[in-house]
Subunit: 267 residues, 2 copies
Protein backbone atom coordinates (compact mmCIF):
# COMPACT_ATOMS: atom_id res chain seq x y z
CA UNK A 1 0.00 0.00 0.00
CA UNK A 2 1.34 3.44 -0.88
CA UNK A 3 1.59 6.07 1.80
CA UNK A 4 -1.30 8.54 1.36
CA UNK A 5 -0.30 12.00 0.23
CA UNK A 6 -0.34 14.98 2.60
CA UNK A 7 -3.53 16.96 2.35
CA UNK A 8 -3.01 20.18 0.37
CA UNK A 9 -3.60 23.33 2.43
CA UNK A 10 -6.27 24.49 0.00
CA UNK A 11 -8.27 21.28 0.51
CA UNK A 12 -7.99 21.61 4.26
CA UNK A 13 -9.29 25.17 4.11
CA UNK A 14 -12.19 24.02 1.95
CA UNK A 15 -13.13 21.12 4.25
CA UNK A 16 -12.79 23.26 7.37
CA UNK A 17 -15.63 25.42 6.09
CA UNK A 18 -17.94 22.41 6.36
CA UNK A 19 -18.10 23.06 10.11
CA UNK A 20 -20.50 25.84 9.13
CA UNK A 21 -24.02 24.99 8.07
CA UNK A 22 -24.11 27.60 5.31
CA UNK A 23 -21.07 26.04 3.60
CA UNK A 24 -22.46 22.54 3.99
CA UNK A 25 -25.53 23.79 2.21
CA UNK A 26 -23.55 25.35 -0.64
CA UNK A 27 -21.08 22.45 -1.01
CA UNK A 28 -23.70 19.77 -0.36
CA UNK A 29 -21.04 17.94 1.67
CA UNK A 30 -20.54 17.12 5.34
CA UNK A 31 -17.91 15.72 7.68
CA UNK A 32 -18.04 12.41 9.55
CA UNK A 33 -15.58 11.36 12.25
CA UNK A 34 -14.34 8.07 13.61
CA UNK A 35 -13.93 4.51 12.37
CA UNK A 36 -17.52 3.40 12.81
CA UNK A 37 -19.11 6.22 10.80
CA UNK A 38 -16.47 5.99 8.07
CA UNK A 39 -17.00 2.23 7.76
CA UNK A 40 -20.77 2.71 7.60
CA UNK A 41 -20.44 5.40 4.93
CA UNK A 42 -18.06 3.28 2.81
CA UNK A 43 -20.39 0.29 3.10
CA UNK A 44 -23.40 2.34 2.02
CA UNK A 45 -24.51 3.79 -1.30
CA UNK A 46 -23.52 7.28 -0.15
CA UNK A 47 -20.67 8.90 -2.01
CA UNK A 48 -17.50 9.72 -0.05
CA UNK A 49 -15.19 12.36 -1.58
CA UNK A 50 -12.19 11.91 0.68
CA UNK A 51 -10.81 10.30 3.81
CA UNK A 52 -8.26 12.07 6.01
CA UNK A 53 -6.21 9.98 8.40
CA UNK A 54 -3.53 10.75 10.94
CA UNK A 55 -0.04 9.22 10.76
CA UNK A 56 -0.85 7.16 13.83
CA UNK A 57 -4.02 5.84 12.22
CA UNK A 58 -1.96 4.37 9.34
CA UNK A 59 -0.53 1.81 11.78
CA UNK A 60 -3.90 0.65 13.12
CA UNK A 61 -5.30 -2.79 12.37
CA UNK A 62 -8.47 -1.38 10.86
CA UNK A 63 -6.61 0.84 8.41
CA UNK A 64 -5.79 -1.60 5.55
CA UNK A 65 -9.42 -2.70 5.11
CA UNK A 66 -10.60 0.89 5.14
CA UNK A 67 -7.91 1.92 2.64
CA UNK A 68 -8.85 -0.97 0.31
CA UNK A 69 -12.50 -0.13 0.51
CA UNK A 70 -11.74 3.55 -0.14
CA UNK A 71 -9.58 2.67 -3.16
CA UNK A 72 -12.28 0.39 -4.58
CA UNK A 73 -14.74 3.25 -4.32
CA UNK A 74 -12.31 5.86 -5.69
CA UNK A 75 -12.25 7.85 -2.50
CA UNK A 76 -9.22 10.18 -2.14
CA UNK A 77 -7.05 9.27 0.83
CA UNK A 78 -5.03 12.01 2.55
CA UNK A 79 -2.76 12.15 5.53
CA UNK A 80 -3.26 14.99 7.99
CA UNK A 81 -1.97 15.79 11.46
CA UNK A 82 -4.17 15.23 14.50
CA UNK A 83 -4.25 18.99 14.93
CA UNK A 84 -5.48 19.47 11.38
CA UNK A 85 -8.12 16.77 11.86
CA UNK A 86 -9.33 18.52 15.01
CA UNK A 87 -9.97 21.70 13.02
CA UNK A 88 -12.47 19.79 10.87
CA UNK A 89 -14.72 18.62 13.69
CA UNK A 90 -16.47 19.94 16.78
CA UNK A 91 -14.98 17.26 19.03
CA UNK A 92 -11.94 17.99 21.14
CA UNK A 93 -9.86 14.88 20.59
CA UNK A 94 -9.08 13.60 17.13
CA UNK A 95 -10.11 10.03 16.43
CA UNK A 96 -7.52 9.89 13.67
CA UNK A 97 -9.97 9.52 10.80
CA UNK A 98 -12.40 11.90 9.14
CA UNK A 99 -14.50 11.48 6.01
CA UNK A 100 -15.90 14.05 3.61
CA UNK A 101 -19.25 12.78 2.36
CA UNK A 102 -21.47 14.11 -0.41
CA UNK A 103 -25.11 14.68 0.42
CA UNK A 104 -27.49 12.16 -1.06
CA UNK A 105 -30.90 13.31 -2.18
CA UNK A 106 -33.90 11.07 -2.05
CA UNK A 107 -37.03 11.85 -3.96
CA UNK A 108 -40.05 12.04 -1.67
CA UNK A 109 -42.32 10.92 -4.51
CA UNK A 110 -40.46 7.62 -4.83
CA UNK A 111 -41.11 6.80 -1.20
CA UNK A 112 -44.82 6.93 -1.78
CA UNK A 113 -44.78 4.73 -4.86
CA UNK A 114 -42.83 1.75 -3.57
CA UNK A 115 -44.24 -1.52 -4.87
CA UNK A 116 -44.56 -2.99 -1.35
CA UNK A 117 -48.10 -3.15 -0.08
CA UNK A 118 -46.90 -2.28 3.38
CA UNK A 119 -44.99 0.86 4.20
CA UNK A 120 -44.26 2.77 7.37
CA UNK A 121 -42.81 6.26 7.06
CA UNK A 122 -41.91 8.53 9.97
CA UNK A 123 -42.29 12.27 9.43
CA UNK A 124 -40.72 14.83 11.77
CA UNK A 125 -42.23 18.29 12.09
CA UNK A 126 -39.75 20.84 13.48
CA UNK A 127 -37.60 18.62 15.70
CA UNK A 128 -35.13 21.05 17.28
CA UNK A 129 -32.64 19.00 19.29
CA UNK A 130 -29.76 17.33 17.39
CA UNK A 131 -29.56 14.47 19.92
CA UNK A 132 -33.26 13.77 19.49
CA UNK A 133 -33.04 13.71 15.68
CA UNK A 134 -30.01 11.40 15.80
CA UNK A 135 -31.72 9.04 18.26
CA UNK A 136 -34.87 8.96 16.12
CA UNK A 137 -32.86 8.10 12.99
CA UNK A 138 -31.18 5.26 14.89
CA UNK A 139 -34.50 4.06 16.32
CA UNK A 140 -36.26 4.13 12.93
CA UNK A 141 -33.37 2.13 11.49
CA UNK A 142 -33.65 -0.45 14.30
CA UNK A 143 -37.38 -0.89 13.71
CA UNK A 144 -36.95 -1.13 9.94
CA UNK A 145 -38.97 1.97 9.11
CA UNK A 146 -39.13 2.36 5.33
CA UNK A 147 -38.17 6.03 5.31
CA UNK A 148 -37.88 9.19 7.35
CA UNK A 149 -38.92 12.64 6.16
CA UNK A 150 -37.80 15.85 7.86
CA UNK A 151 -39.66 19.15 7.68
CA UNK A 152 -37.85 22.30 6.54
CA UNK A 153 -37.61 23.60 10.10
CA UNK A 154 -36.22 20.37 11.58
CA UNK A 155 -32.59 20.59 12.74
CA UNK A 156 -30.15 19.88 9.89
CA UNK A 157 -29.36 16.16 9.38
CA UNK A 158 -25.71 17.01 8.62
CA UNK A 159 -25.16 18.80 11.93
CA UNK A 160 -22.16 17.00 13.53
CA UNK A 161 -24.14 16.25 16.72
CA UNK A 162 -26.95 14.68 14.72
CA UNK A 163 -24.53 12.58 12.69
CA UNK A 164 -22.79 11.26 15.82
CA UNK A 165 -26.11 10.38 17.46
CA UNK A 166 -27.31 8.42 14.40
CA UNK A 167 -24.41 5.98 14.97
CA UNK A 168 -24.31 5.33 11.23
CA UNK A 169 -28.03 4.67 10.83
CA UNK A 170 -28.36 7.72 8.57
CA UNK A 171 -26.64 5.65 5.86
CA UNK A 172 -29.12 2.76 6.15
CA UNK A 173 -32.42 4.15 4.93
CA UNK A 174 -33.86 6.91 2.78
CA UNK A 175 -34.09 10.21 4.65
CA UNK A 176 -35.70 13.08 2.81
CA UNK A 177 -34.64 16.44 4.22
CA UNK A 178 -36.10 19.96 4.16
CA UNK A 179 -39.44 18.78 2.90
CA UNK A 180 -42.67 20.76 2.63
CA UNK A 181 -44.47 18.52 5.10
CA UNK A 182 -47.99 19.68 4.25
CA UNK A 183 -47.43 18.96 0.56
CA UNK A 184 -45.82 15.59 1.31
CA UNK A 185 -48.65 14.45 3.57
CA UNK A 186 -51.26 15.52 1.05
CA UNK A 187 -49.48 13.42 -1.60
CA UNK A 188 -49.17 10.52 0.82
CA UNK A 189 -52.92 10.56 1.42
CA UNK A 190 -53.56 10.48 -2.32
CA UNK A 191 -51.24 7.43 -2.50
CA UNK A 192 -53.33 5.58 0.06
CA UNK A 193 -51.30 6.32 3.18
CA UNK A 194 -53.04 6.89 6.50
CA UNK A 195 -51.59 9.88 8.38
CA UNK A 196 -51.27 9.29 12.12
CA UNK A 197 -50.24 12.23 14.33
CA UNK A 198 -48.54 11.46 17.62
CA UNK A 199 -49.98 13.97 20.09
CA UNK A 200 -50.63 14.00 23.83
CA UNK A 201 -54.19 12.88 24.41
CA UNK A 202 -54.36 10.96 21.13
CA UNK A 203 -55.91 7.51 20.92
CA UNK A 204 -53.83 4.87 22.72
CA UNK A 205 -51.48 3.05 20.33
CA UNK A 206 -52.12 -0.02 22.44
CA UNK A 207 -55.90 0.00 21.72
CA UNK A 208 -55.97 1.81 18.39
CA UNK A 209 -57.97 -0.02 15.68
CA UNK A 210 -56.28 -2.06 12.92
CA UNK A 211 -52.84 -0.73 12.03
CA UNK A 212 -52.99 0.53 8.43
CA UNK A 213 -50.74 -1.21 5.90
CA UNK A 214 -49.44 2.09 4.63
CA UNK A 215 -48.95 4.76 7.26
CA UNK A 216 -47.06 7.96 7.90
CA UNK A 217 -46.60 8.69 11.61
CA UNK A 218 -45.87 12.34 12.41
CA UNK A 219 -43.97 13.54 15.50
CA UNK A 220 -43.74 17.23 16.37
CA UNK A 221 -41.51 19.78 18.04
CA UNK A 222 -40.24 19.09 21.58
CA UNK A 223 -42.02 22.13 23.05
CA UNK A 224 -44.85 22.98 20.68
CA UNK A 225 -45.81 19.66 19.13
CA UNK A 226 -47.12 19.36 15.58
CA UNK A 227 -48.04 22.51 13.64
CA UNK A 228 -51.76 23.10 13.22
CA UNK A 229 -51.61 23.00 9.39
CA UNK A 230 -49.87 19.61 9.52
CA UNK A 231 -52.15 18.23 12.22
CA UNK A 232 -55.18 19.05 10.04
CA UNK A 233 -54.02 16.45 7.52
CA UNK A 234 -53.99 13.57 10.03
CA UNK A 235 -56.65 10.87 9.80
CA UNK A 236 -56.20 10.04 13.48
CA UNK A 237 -54.15 11.02 16.49
CA UNK A 238 -52.24 8.45 18.50
CA UNK A 239 -50.47 8.54 21.87
CA UNK A 240 -48.59 6.37 24.30
CA UNK A 241 -50.97 5.94 27.23
CA UNK A 242 -49.65 7.28 30.51
CA UNK A 243 -49.55 4.99 33.53
CA UNK A 244 -47.64 7.33 35.89
CA UNK A 245 -47.23 11.02 36.59
CA UNK A 246 -44.75 12.42 34.03
CA UNK A 247 -46.15 15.35 32.05
CA UNK A 248 -44.66 14.25 28.77
CA UNK A 249 -42.19 11.94 27.08
CA UNK A 250 -39.01 12.88 25.24
CA UNK A 251 -39.81 12.78 21.50
CA UNK A 252 -37.19 10.08 20.71
CA UNK A 253 -38.56 7.96 23.55
CA UNK A 254 -42.05 8.58 22.26
CA UNK A 255 -41.06 7.45 18.75
CA UNK A 256 -39.51 4.28 20.21
CA UNK A 257 -42.67 3.52 22.17
CA UNK A 258 -44.92 4.07 19.13
CA UNK A 259 -42.70 1.93 16.87
CA UNK A 260 -42.61 -0.85 19.47
CA UNK A 261 -46.40 -0.80 19.76
CA UNK A 262 -46.86 -0.80 15.96
CA UNK A 263 -44.37 -3.67 15.55
CA UNK A 264 -45.95 -5.60 18.38
CA UNK A 265 -49.37 -5.21 16.87
CA UNK A 266 -48.34 -5.72 13.22
CA UNK A 267 -45.21 -7.89 13.28
Amino acid sequence: MTHPRRIPKSKLVEYKKLLQKKYRRVQRQFVIEGVHLVEEALASDWDCEALLVSENFLTKNVFPAIADRAAARHVMLYEASDRELETLTDTVTSQGIVGIVNEKSYDAGNLLNLPSRRSLIIALDDIADPGNLGAIVRTCDWFGTDALVLSEDTVELYNPKVIRATMGSMFHMPIVTAIDLEGFLASAKRCGFTILAAVPGGESVLDFGPIPDRAVVVFGNEAHGIHENVLRLASATIAIPRFGKAESLNVAVSAAAVLTALRLRRP
Copy 2:
Protein backbone atom coordinates in the same frame (compact mmCIF):
# COMPACT_ATOMS: atom_id res chain seq x y z
CA MET B 1 -46.58 39.35 51.08
CA THR B 2 -43.32 40.55 52.57
CA HIS B 3 -40.36 41.16 50.32
CA PRO B 4 -37.91 38.25 50.68
CA ARG B 5 -34.63 39.08 52.39
CA ARG B 6 -31.36 39.37 50.46
CA ILE B 7 -29.39 36.17 50.54
CA PRO B 8 -26.47 36.41 52.99
CA LYS B 9 -23.06 36.12 51.30
CA SER B 10 -22.18 33.11 53.47
CA LYS B 11 -25.26 31.21 52.27
CA LEU B 12 -24.46 32.01 48.66
CA VAL B 13 -20.92 30.71 49.12
CA GLU B 14 -22.31 27.53 50.69
CA TYR B 15 -24.85 26.91 47.92
CA LYS B 16 -22.33 27.69 45.19
CA LYS B 17 -20.32 24.70 46.35
CA LEU B 18 -23.22 22.44 45.37
CA LEU B 19 -22.07 22.79 41.76
CA GLN B 20 -19.40 20.28 42.76
CA LYS B 21 -20.31 16.66 43.22
CA LYS B 22 -18.10 16.19 46.28
CA TYR B 23 -19.92 18.97 48.16
CA ARG B 24 -23.31 17.66 47.11
CA ARG B 25 -22.27 14.35 48.60
CA VAL B 26 -21.14 15.94 51.88
CA GLN B 27 -24.09 18.33 52.18
CA ARG B 28 -26.61 15.83 50.84
CA GLN B 29 -28.21 18.73 48.96
CA PHE B 30 -28.56 19.73 45.34
CA VAL B 31 -29.69 22.66 43.19
CA ILE B 32 -32.71 22.79 40.91
CA GLU B 33 -33.45 25.58 38.45
CA GLY B 34 -36.57 27.00 36.85
CA VAL B 35 -40.27 27.25 37.65
CA HIS B 36 -41.23 23.74 36.59
CA LEU B 37 -38.67 21.88 38.71
CA VAL B 38 -39.31 24.13 41.72
CA GLU B 39 -43.06 23.57 41.47
CA GLU B 40 -42.53 19.81 41.18
CA ALA B 41 -40.23 19.77 44.20
CA LEU B 42 -42.65 21.84 46.31
CA ALA B 43 -45.55 19.57 45.32
CA SER B 44 -43.59 16.44 46.24
CA ASP B 45 -42.57 14.90 49.55
CA TRP B 46 -38.97 16.02 48.99
CA ASP B 47 -37.67 18.60 51.42
CA CYS B 48 -36.64 22.01 50.04
CA GLU B 49 -34.28 24.08 52.20
CA ALA B 50 -34.46 27.36 50.33
CA LEU B 51 -35.69 29.16 47.24
CA LEU B 52 -33.69 31.98 45.67
CA VAL B 53 -35.50 34.36 43.33
CA SER B 54 -34.43 37.36 41.29
CA GLU B 55 -36.03 40.78 41.75
CA ASN B 56 -37.66 40.41 38.36
CA PHE B 57 -39.14 37.04 39.33
CA LEU B 58 -41.00 38.70 42.24
CA THR B 59 -43.24 40.46 39.71
CA LYS B 60 -44.16 37.31 37.78
CA ASN B 61 -47.65 35.81 37.88
CA VAL B 62 -46.41 32.45 39.11
CA PHE B 63 -44.54 33.96 42.06
CA PRO B 64 -47.34 34.38 44.66
CA ALA B 65 -48.43 30.74 44.45
CA ILE B 66 -44.83 29.55 44.72
CA ALA B 67 -44.19 31.88 47.69
CA ASP B 68 -47.35 30.63 49.47
CA ARG B 69 -46.43 27.05 48.89
CA ALA B 70 -42.88 27.69 50.11
CA ALA B 71 -44.17 29.43 53.25
CA ALA B 72 -46.57 26.57 53.98
CA ARG B 73 -43.66 24.16 53.77
CA HIS B 74 -41.30 26.37 55.80
CA VAL B 75 -38.90 26.87 52.90
CA MET B 76 -36.61 29.92 53.27
CA LEU B 77 -37.17 32.48 50.53
CA TYR B 78 -34.26 34.71 49.49
CA GLU B 79 -33.77 37.37 46.88
CA ALA B 80 -30.61 37.20 44.78
CA SER B 81 -29.39 38.98 41.66
CA ASP B 82 -29.51 37.20 38.30
CA ARG B 83 -25.73 37.19 38.36
CA GLU B 84 -25.69 35.48 41.74
CA LEU B 85 -28.26 32.92 40.56
CA GLU B 86 -26.11 32.16 37.53
CA THR B 87 -23.20 31.26 39.80
CA LEU B 88 -25.32 28.47 41.33
CA THR B 89 -26.09 26.65 38.11
CA ASP B 90 -24.36 25.34 35.00
CA THR B 91 -26.74 27.11 32.64
CA VAL B 92 -25.80 30.41 31.07
CA THR B 93 -28.99 32.40 31.48
CA SER B 94 -30.71 32.70 34.83
CA GLN B 95 -34.33 31.58 34.90
CA GLY B 96 -34.86 33.78 37.96
CA ILE B 97 -35.56 30.96 40.39
CA VAL B 98 -33.38 28.33 42.00
CA GLY B 99 -34.17 25.82 44.74
CA ILE B 100 -31.90 24.09 47.25
CA VAL B 101 -33.27 20.60 47.85
CA ASN B 102 -32.27 18.01 50.45
CA GLU B 103 -31.53 14.52 49.20
CA LYS B 104 -34.18 11.97 50.03
CA SER B 105 -33.11 8.44 50.81
CA TYR B 106 -35.28 5.49 49.97
CA ASP B 107 -34.71 2.15 51.54
CA ALA B 108 -34.18 -0.54 48.92
CA GLY B 109 -35.61 -3.19 51.26
CA ASN B 110 -38.95 -1.38 51.38
CA LEU B 111 -39.26 -1.51 47.60
CA LEU B 112 -39.15 -5.28 47.70
CA ASN B 113 -41.75 -5.65 50.43
CA LEU B 114 -44.55 -3.54 49.03
CA PRO B 115 -47.96 -5.12 49.68
CA SER B 116 -48.96 -4.95 46.01
CA ARG B 117 -48.89 -8.28 44.25
CA ARG B 118 -47.57 -6.62 41.13
CA SER B 119 -44.38 -4.65 41.02
CA LEU B 120 -42.08 -3.48 38.25
CA ILE B 121 -38.68 -2.10 39.22
CA ILE B 122 -36.07 -0.81 36.78
CA ALA B 123 -32.41 -1.25 37.75
CA LEU B 124 -29.60 0.62 36.00
CA ASP B 125 -26.10 -0.83 35.94
CA ASP B 126 -23.45 1.82 35.24
CA ILE B 127 -25.40 4.25 33.05
CA ALA B 128 -22.83 6.91 32.15
CA ASP B 129 -24.65 9.63 30.24
CA PRO B 130 -26.60 12.24 32.27
CA GLY B 131 -29.11 12.78 29.46
CA ASN B 132 -29.80 9.06 29.28
CA LEU B 133 -30.36 8.75 33.03
CA GLY B 134 -32.68 11.76 33.03
CA ALA B 135 -34.67 10.41 30.06
CA ILE B 136 -34.97 6.99 31.73
CA VAL B 137 -36.28 8.56 34.96
CA ARG B 138 -38.87 10.49 32.94
CA THR B 139 -39.82 7.39 30.93
CA CYS B 140 -40.16 5.19 34.04
CA ASP B 141 -42.39 7.85 35.57
CA TRP B 142 -44.57 7.95 32.43
CA PHE B 143 -45.01 4.19 32.46
CA GLY B 144 -45.75 4.10 36.19
CA THR B 145 -42.75 1.98 37.13
CA ASP B 146 -42.85 1.31 40.89
CA ALA B 147 -39.24 2.26 41.52
CA LEU B 148 -35.83 2.83 39.99
CA VAL B 149 -32.55 1.64 41.47
CA LEU B 150 -29.16 2.99 40.37
CA SER B 151 -25.88 1.12 40.73
CA GLU B 152 -22.95 2.77 42.51
CA ASP B 153 -21.20 3.50 39.21
CA THR B 154 -24.23 5.05 37.50
CA VAL B 155 -23.95 8.80 36.88
CA GLU B 156 -25.06 10.84 39.91
CA LEU B 157 -28.81 11.55 40.03
CA TYR B 158 -28.14 15.06 41.37
CA ASN B 159 -25.94 16.05 38.43
CA PRO B 160 -27.58 19.24 37.03
CA LYS B 161 -27.87 17.71 33.53
CA VAL B 162 -29.64 14.65 34.91
CA ILE B 163 -32.02 16.77 36.97
CA ARG B 164 -32.96 18.91 33.96
CA ALA B 165 -33.56 15.85 31.78
CA THR B 166 -35.88 14.26 34.36
CA MET B 167 -38.28 17.20 33.86
CA GLY B 168 -39.40 16.80 37.48
CA SER B 169 -40.05 13.05 37.27
CA MET B 170 -37.32 12.40 39.85
CA PHE B 171 -39.74 13.76 42.47
CA HIS B 172 -42.52 11.34 41.46
CA MET B 173 -41.27 7.90 42.40
CA PRO B 174 -38.77 6.18 44.68
CA ILE B 175 -35.25 6.21 43.26
CA VAL B 176 -32.61 4.36 45.24
CA THR B 177 -29.11 5.62 44.44
CA ALA B 178 -25.60 4.17 44.78
CA ILE B 179 -26.88 0.69 45.40
CA ASP B 180 -24.89 -2.54 45.51
CA LEU B 181 -26.75 -4.00 42.53
CA GLU B 182 -25.66 -7.59 43.05
CA GLY B 183 -26.86 -7.54 46.66
CA PHE B 184 -30.12 -5.84 45.69
CA LEU B 185 -30.92 -8.34 42.94
CA ALA B 186 -30.14 -11.28 45.22
CA SER B 187 -32.60 -9.87 47.79
CA ALA B 188 -35.16 -9.22 45.06
CA LYS B 189 -34.97 -12.87 43.98
CA ARG B 190 -35.55 -14.00 47.55
CA CYS B 191 -38.62 -11.73 47.64
CA GLY B 192 -40.09 -13.46 44.58
CA PHE B 193 -38.98 -11.03 41.89
CA THR B 194 -37.93 -12.30 38.48
CA ILE B 195 -34.76 -10.60 37.23
CA LEU B 196 -34.84 -9.77 33.52
CA ALA B 197 -31.67 -8.48 31.89
CA ALA B 198 -32.04 -6.33 28.76
CA VAL B 199 -29.19 -7.41 26.48
CA PRO B 200 -28.64 -7.56 22.71
CA GLY B 201 -29.63 -11.02 21.53
CA GLY B 202 -31.97 -11.62 24.48
CA GLU B 203 -35.37 -13.20 24.01
CA SER B 204 -37.80 -10.90 22.18
CA VAL B 205 -39.98 -8.92 24.61
CA LEU B 206 -42.72 -9.30 22.05
CA ASP B 207 -42.70 -13.12 22.28
CA PHE B 208 -41.34 -13.63 25.77
CA GLY B 209 -43.47 -15.97 27.91
CA PRO B 210 -45.90 -14.69 30.57
CA ILE B 211 -44.77 -11.38 32.07
CA PRO B 212 -44.00 -11.98 35.76
CA ASP B 213 -46.11 -10.10 38.30
CA ARG B 214 -43.02 -8.98 40.16
CA ALA B 215 -40.02 -8.16 38.02
CA VAL B 216 -36.80 -6.18 38.05
CA VAL B 217 -35.60 -5.23 34.56
CA VAL B 218 -31.89 -4.40 34.36
CA PHE B 219 -30.34 -2.09 31.73
CA GLY B 220 -26.57 -1.73 31.39
CA ASN B 221 -23.87 0.70 30.38
CA GLU B 222 -24.11 2.44 26.98
CA ALA B 223 -20.87 0.87 25.71
CA HIS B 224 -20.27 -2.27 27.79
CA GLY B 225 -23.76 -3.42 28.74
CA ILE B 226 -24.50 -5.20 32.01
CA HIS B 227 -21.60 -6.36 34.21
CA GLU B 228 -21.01 -10.11 34.21
CA ASN B 229 -21.61 -10.48 37.97
CA VAL B 230 -24.98 -8.74 37.63
CA LEU B 231 -25.95 -10.64 34.50
CA ARG B 232 -25.38 -13.94 36.33
CA LEU B 233 -28.31 -13.13 38.62
CA ALA B 234 -30.83 -12.76 35.79
CA SER B 235 -33.49 -15.43 35.28
CA ALA B 236 -33.84 -14.48 31.63
CA THR B 237 -32.51 -12.04 29.08
CA ILE B 238 -34.83 -9.87 27.01
CA ALA B 239 -34.34 -7.68 23.96
CA ILE B 240 -36.21 -5.50 21.54
CA PRO B 241 -36.22 -7.47 18.29
CA ARG B 242 -34.49 -5.74 15.42
CA PHE B 243 -36.35 -5.24 12.16
CA GLY B 244 -33.76 -3.03 10.43
CA LYS B 245 -30.01 -2.52 10.27
CA ALA B 246 -29.01 -0.41 13.31
CA GLU B 247 -26.34 -2.06 15.46
CA SER B 248 -27.88 -1.01 18.73
CA LEU B 249 -30.45 1.20 20.39
CA ASN B 250 -29.83 4.12 22.73
CA VAL B 251 -30.40 2.84 26.29
CA ALA B 252 -33.22 5.32 27.06
CA VAL B 253 -34.93 4.34 23.81
CA SER B 254 -34.43 0.70 24.71
CA ALA B 255 -36.01 1.23 28.14
CA ALA B 256 -38.99 2.94 26.49
CA ALA B 257 -39.44 0.07 24.04
CA VAL B 258 -39.24 -2.56 26.80
CA LEU B 259 -41.69 -0.68 29.02
CA THR B 260 -44.10 -0.25 26.11
CA ALA B 261 -43.95 -3.95 25.34
CA LEU B 262 -44.45 -4.91 29.00
CA ARG B 263 -47.40 -2.53 29.35
CA LEU B 264 -48.91 -3.70 26.11
CA ARG B 265 -48.64 -7.31 27.20
CA ARG B 266 -49.66 -6.76 30.84
CA PRO B 267 -51.85 -3.63 30.89
